[in-house]
């Protein structure tokens, strides 16, 4: 099963290498890993999506905890959370298809961020399902390329 771990780490050089190295070394499967600043400049938040059964996730968590610079790990898989990814997609488009593509963008609340004679670049955010659905809808037009971030997540509710 796929788990989402929200990991607070000290904002120090090398921490990404330590985490990534740990996954590689112990043979865990990272699906995505996103790291970025938080409201506190001293710490960063890593959102790690990892695939594995309970036993593996337990080991992943414990081994991550052994890294001195890891401060807190929450497995938010079961929690009410907001998950977001960002995608940029370039889709083949000419005068005859552009209108339809723009309609699709509207439905997915995506926006067109660049335009050329035979393609458009679309930007969309959402959870993984929404992004997948949009890609499926766009595929018949011809996807030239896309770039996608991993997931960032936050638990819902007051804190």
């Amino acid at each position: 099963m796929r788990h989402t771990l929200s990991v607070i780490v000290e904002n120090k050089p090398g921490i990404l290498t330590r985490v990534a190295g740990l996954f590689a070394r112990r043979g865990y499967n990272i699906e995505s890993l996103v790291v970025g600043e938080t409201e506190n400049p001293q710490v960063s938040r890593m959102t790690i999506v990892v695939d594995g059964d309970e036993k593996i996730i337990e080991q992943v968590t414990k081994q991550l905890h052994k890294l001195i610079e890891v401060i807190k790990i929450s497995d938010i898989t079961q929690e009410e959370s907001v998950h977001r990814e960002l995608i940029l997609v370039r889709v083949a488009a000419d005068a005859s298809t552009r209108g339809e593509i723009m309609q699709i963008c509207e439905i997915f609340r995506a926006s067109i961020v660049d335009l050329s004679r035979n393609s458009v670049m679309i930007q969309a955010t959402g959870d993984q399902k929404k992004i997948e659905a949009m890609l499926t809808t766009l595929r018949p037009f011809g996807i030239r390329e896309f770039a996608r971030t991993g997931r960032i997540s936050m638990v819902r509710g007051s804190k």
């Binding site: 000290e10 190295g21 070394r25 337990e58 905890h65 001195i68 890891v70």
Partner: protein, 555 residues
């Protein structure tokens, strides 16, 4: 004051009395500062020797050992020793010089990314970029290396940082360590401790499985009290040897791949296994699927990641072995376990540990050395058959007195480690059991020993072979022996002479005791070469994929 001087001040403030090291360009400032420091520098002959010596020192002194190397090849020579300390959870501080900050990343002369290289084999490591950080980094390094599950910490310092001026660290006011992500839990969970004791009370066939965690936590007295009060026999892993006196009736000795028949049988038949300070490594468990099949398992360890990693656990307890054992003792009643005691005694009687007596063997020599020195000596070993024979036949009775490379199985560990032990315990007897293969991996450290006038007692088993690998080929490769014969060995007598070491030779059973006594009476360093047969095997042995009760014994 410069960074190097600040570094030494901080080491001093952390109780460092000696450093094992080797100089080079990038650590010139440290070597210069050493001249004015009360810290002693022990010049080794190769940096790997420095790391193993720091390891032996740490184990005998009960505090972190420190080794020092220059950038590049000096640093990479430390790597085996760092990995070895990591696998055996030995507290160690490795300090390396680095090329100047401005040249880092340019493939400068003698530049290696040693923090990158040692990432998976250190508990933590640092690249210091500002001399003002040195006091905090050193303080943290000692804290991390010696608390929780101990381990090596590496500090890499560029040359310009060592040279830069910085304020003198305040000797009385050590920086307070505050690491948000590092708070080892030492107190076991009370309700889990209660559950464990309930299992002890209900058990009919309990066994204690003891590892290096007991030695590090200095919990042998508490272990002894628990075992004797509730009549629980004690089996140990290689790292746990000595934690419980092997001459005691409750001792089962070594368990695992080369464990005693009674230890392995007891574990296989146990209904309760209490593992303390162990990690259920594959050399201890054999095939985990067949391991302690009838037993509920209680696992006490300071490292939460060890619990449930290898074996399925019924009662997990994260904590310091000594603190948890003290809690056990508050709750555990005296127990008879008469039937189980009879069974253990019967196994010891009918399935004894034995070796052939029709010719001279390493086992006989080791057993004799044990009888002569058990109560006073520190014993280091190298890696191979002689190591396991030492583990089986010496019969240790003092916690921490068996100094061996367990997790990494590093040939060449023995001699430099023995040097470290002797440096920490100048007045005690230190014995090294080594093989003709192993000694040749770090033989240069004889020079370090002589330079420091160490009265080491080296017992060298010469079977003209890499005996342990030969044994593997015997069992797994249909006796096709490949690359295991030492067709050339030096004249060890001449080698000893070259180093000014008193040399003895044993080639008959009759000579064993008298020669050993003579050698041990010699006040200086001695080498006793023992001629042994390459065909001798380590028994018992449990082959790959087998359970501990499927052991092969000597006939």
């Amino acid at each position: 004051m410069n960074g190097a001087q600040a570094l030494l001040k901080c080491l001093e403030a952390n109780g460092v009395e000696m450093i094992f090291g080797y100089p080079g360009g990038s650590v010139l400032p440290i070597y210069d500062a050493l001249l004015d420091s009360p810290i002693r520098h022990i010049l080794v002959r190769c940096e790997q020797g420095a790391a193993h010596a720091a390891n032996g020192y740490a184990r005998a002194a009960g505090k972190p050992g420190v080794c020092l190397a220059t950038s590049g090849p000096g640093a990479t020579n430390l790597v085996t020793g760092i990995a070895n300390a990591y696998m055996d959870s030995i507290p160690m501080i490795a300090i390396t010089g680095q090329v100047p900050t401005s040249m880092v990343g340019t493939d400068a002369f003698q530049e290696v990314d040693i923090t990158g290289i040692t990432l998976p084999i250190t508990k933590h490591n640092y690249l210091v970029k500002d001399p003002a950080e040195i006091p905090r980094v050193v303080q943290e390094a000692f804290h991390i290396a010696s608390t929780g599950r101990p381990g090596p910490v590496l500090i890499d310092i560029p040359k310009d940082v060592l040279q830069a001026q910085c304020p003198c660290p305040d000797a009385d006011e050590k920086p307070v360590v505050d690491i948000k992500g590092y708070r080892p839990n030492v107190k076991g969970h009370p309700s889990q401790i209660k559950n464990a004791v309930k299992l002890i009370e209900a058990a009919k066939r309990p066994v204690l499985m003891i590892g290096g965690g007991i030695i590090h936590a200095q919990a042998s007295a508490e272990l002894f009290e628990l075992a004797t009060r509730a009549n629980i026999p004690v089996a140990t892993t290689l790292m746990g040897i000595g934690a419980f006196s092997e001459t005691h009736r409750l001792s089962l000795g070594l368990m695992g791949m080369h464990g005693t028949p009674y230890a392995n049988l007891a574990i296989s038949k146990a209904d309760l296994l209490i593992g303390i300070g162990v990690r259920f490594g594959d050399r201890a468990t054999g095939d985990v699927g067949k391991f302690a099949r009838d037993a509920k398992i209680v696992h006490v360890d300071i490292d939460p990641a060890e619990i449930g990693k290898n074996a399925d656990i019924d009662v997990p307890i994260v904590g310091d072995a000594r603190i948890v054992l003290k809690e056990f003792l508050k709750l555990t009643p005296p127990m008879e376990q008469a039937e189980w005691m009879d069974q253990i005694a019967a196994w010891k009687q009918n399935r004894p540990l034995k070796f052939r007596t029709d010719q001279l063997t390493a086992q006989q020599v080791i057993e004799t050395v044990g009888n002569l020195t058990r109560d006073k000596a520190w014993v280091a070993t190298d890696v191979g058959q002689h190591q396991i024979w030492t583990a089986l036949f010496y019969k240790f009775n003092r916690p921490g007195s068996f100094i061996t490379s367990a997790g990494l199985g590093t040939m060449g560990y023995g001699l430099p480690a023995a040097n470290g032990v002797q440096m920490a315990r100048p007045d005690d007897m230190v014995i090294l059991f080594t093989g003709d293969g192993s000694i040749q991996m770090q033989m240069q450290e004889l020079g370090t020993a002589r330079q420091e006038n160490l009265p080491l007692k080296i017992i060298l088993f010469n079977n003209h072979a890499l005996g342990m690998v030969r044994q593997l080929q015997h069992f797994y490769c249909g006796k096709r022996y490949s690359g295991v014969k030492m067709t050339f060995n030096p004249q060890f007598s001449s080698l000893a002479e070259a180093y000014g070491i008193q040399y003895y030779h044993i080639s008959s059973q009759e000579a064993v005791e008298s020669t050993l006594k003579e050698a041990f009476a010699h006040p200086g360093m001695v080498m006793v070469e023992v001629a042994v047969d390459e065909q001798e095997m380590v028994y018992p042995t449990v082959l790959g994929g087998k359970g501990l009760d499927e052991l092969i014994v000597c006939d």
